[in-house]
Symmetry: C2
Subunit: 338 residues, 2 copies
DNA sequence: TGAACGTCATGAAACGTTTCAAGCGCGTTC
DNA sequence: GAACGCGCTTGAAACGTTTCATGACGTTCA
């Protein structure tokens, strides 16, 4: 009862299994007559293709793995949604794994996805996965790095220009009159952090006025880390506090905001301006609406999936790095200094 | 080069394929000697099990589908993370699909997952999927409803007691001195909304003082819907505004908060108190830290997956409804009335 | 008229695994 | 010493699909 196979469909339609398969996969190689008969049979029997058998025989998989570094960050959910949109257009499902900056889990997921023989892998990596990814590629599973530029050009990547973003953020702070700027973020094993900081340095050094840039390191990139950094700033005497903060991402910025204005000890943006990165949807809804560097997150996901599929279809393509430009979104948290 | 099969392992270890399979699946039915030989061969050749073939033959799948209604709501991220934790413990991967309250997409994903022959389905439904789910069950694919009590007892579900949550929220508002309370939420096709409202009514009617409860309906449950509702409240004369709002979830509450305090027109909690539902991590980081009804989201995900696996193992289990109690989390947005 | 060709349909082989009946070797029991 | 049981291994069958060599049939062209 339960399982209708292609054989049943063939019998019901009065054709061979080969023909049914062709109707499913290359309808043009089949007479219109057969197509209608087969489709009627499929309808009548409620046939659903068995993806496992298809994968086994054809070696082509209808799943793609997505490994995300930081399952707390809404930014990645937008990326996934972009990838999903594109995937469902191709009849492809997404296997999802959040690793929470845990290298061991990252490996578990890669193993799992390898067994599943995914068509390819989208990965926002934390650990050093290059070796692992190369091994997967030997097995025919390609990968596209998301939100991280692939240094050695071994893999394609889709990301945003973090250096430019950092530069633009600090230029904006300088343009609104700030001179003592703190970069809050970390850990610096993460390219996102180092690149954004590098951009910030460029802007600080290139400014026409003298600008101080200090670095306040955080252990991770969550709300709690931002709040902790805020506490550290609050412990200083007012004169020694920065007059603006560039946070490595919006979560950190929100944490900062919360601790700074929470006890109404510091006015934002009057005493300290804050700008974040990512422009997650909560940035606009924050206590003080948060300025941020917007990433085209859905487009990143969509593009990454598209690149992945293209490379899976033609493994000889050389890796390419797609880099989008971030966009400055100004809100109240960086209102100009009076 | 690329693909090492069980046959290659068998040859390399000097045993039969059957033995290799047994080492993989029931090591106790095999002599220790064979086990070590086979494991050595697996190691040497870098063998990885082909999940497609396994699924085809054994009919048992190592994937579970998770269909989420509202990909914007961080609450579901936590649910997924709970499910993931449990899944990876069983070597199971999660196929993820966010439908964004789009009935058509919901169907697309169900189709996709049916082709993939997932072991089962976790679903936070939007549309009326009961018929579809029953058909899937006939095919051997069970489902567990997440975050929604299954009315007719046809499927197991894991959710939170929304009626109790609504009651507790309004009781809290009344206890802190509010008397003119608005429920902001919708659409009322969604059980979450109707149940929370029902609970609110119980509290309002059971209060020892007269309490007004009005309903401000929203089209959906996102930040924008909350902000729109806030605008409507702002258009009223001050005397006609509620003195407290119970929002159907935190996103709506954040939107409300943003529009109410955004232009500093209304003081929260002094003029209007706000309480939300879910206790997403941004609730604590809001402009005015938000009181909320906390759901044990990770536990919900974990439990749902566990129930799903149990039912997949033994299809004769009767459906069971697991209901957790929400917990009141008090923050500044409902500071007592003076 | 016959060769050549194009269009379709056919059915068996193959993908890599699990399962299972059968068999082997060896020790134990009557 | 035959019969039996036990622990383990074996190899072929089966899962449902795609692929591909083969061939049937009809049309075109020299």
């Amino acid at each position: 009862m339960a399982n209708v196979s292609i054989r049943d469909v063939a019998r019901h339609a009065g054709v061979s299994v080969g023909t049914v398969s062709n109707v499913l996969n290359r309808p043009d190689a089949v007479s219109p007559d057969s197509v209608t008969k087969v489709q009627a049979a499929i309808e009548a029997l409620g046939y659903v293709r068995n993806e496992a058998a298809r994968k086994l025989r054809a070696g082509v998989s209808a799943t793609v793995g997505f490994v995300v570094l930081d399952g707390q960050n809404p930014f990645y959910y937008d990326v996934i949604r972009g990838a999903e949109d594109e995937a469902s257009r191709h009849g492809i499902a997404i296997l999802y794994g959040a690793t929470d900056e845990d290298v061991k889990r990252e490996r578990v997921y890669l193993d799992l996805f390898e067994e599943q023989q995914v068509r390819g892998l989208l990965i926002a990596p934390y650990g050093d996965v290059n070796r692992r990814l190369e091994r997967l590629r030997e097995r025919g599973i390609g990968a596209v790095l998301v939100d991280r530029f692939s240094g050695e050009n071994k893999f394609s990547s889709v990301s945003v220009d973090n250096v430019a973003g950092g530069r633009m953020a600090v230029e904006h702070l300088v343009a609104t009159g700030r001179r003592r700027i703190a970069f809050v973020g970390g850990p610096f094993e993460m390219r996102q952090a180092t690149d954004r900081l590098a951009g910030a340095r460029v802007a600080a050094e290139g400014a026409e006025v003298p600008v101080d840039l200090e670095v306040i390191a955080t252990a991770a990139m969550g709300v709690a880390d931002g709040a902790a950094a805020g506490e550290r700033i609050l412990r200083r005497r007012a004169a020694e506090r920065p007059d603006a903060v560039f946070a490595v991402n919006d979560l950190v910025a929100l944490g900062l905001l919360q601790s700074l204005v929470g006890d109404r000890r510091v006015m934002v943006p009057e005493e300290i301006a804050i700008i974040g990165f990512d422009d997650i949807s909560f940035a606009a809804a924050a206590a003080v609406p948060l300025s941020s560097m917007r990433q085209p997150s859905k487009v990143i996901g969509m593009t990454a999936l598209r690149v992945l599929l293209e490379e899976a279809a033609d493994p000889d393509l050389i890796p390419r790095q797609t880099v989008f430009q971030p966009e400055l979104v100004v809100r109240r948290s960086t209102d100009p200094h009076r």
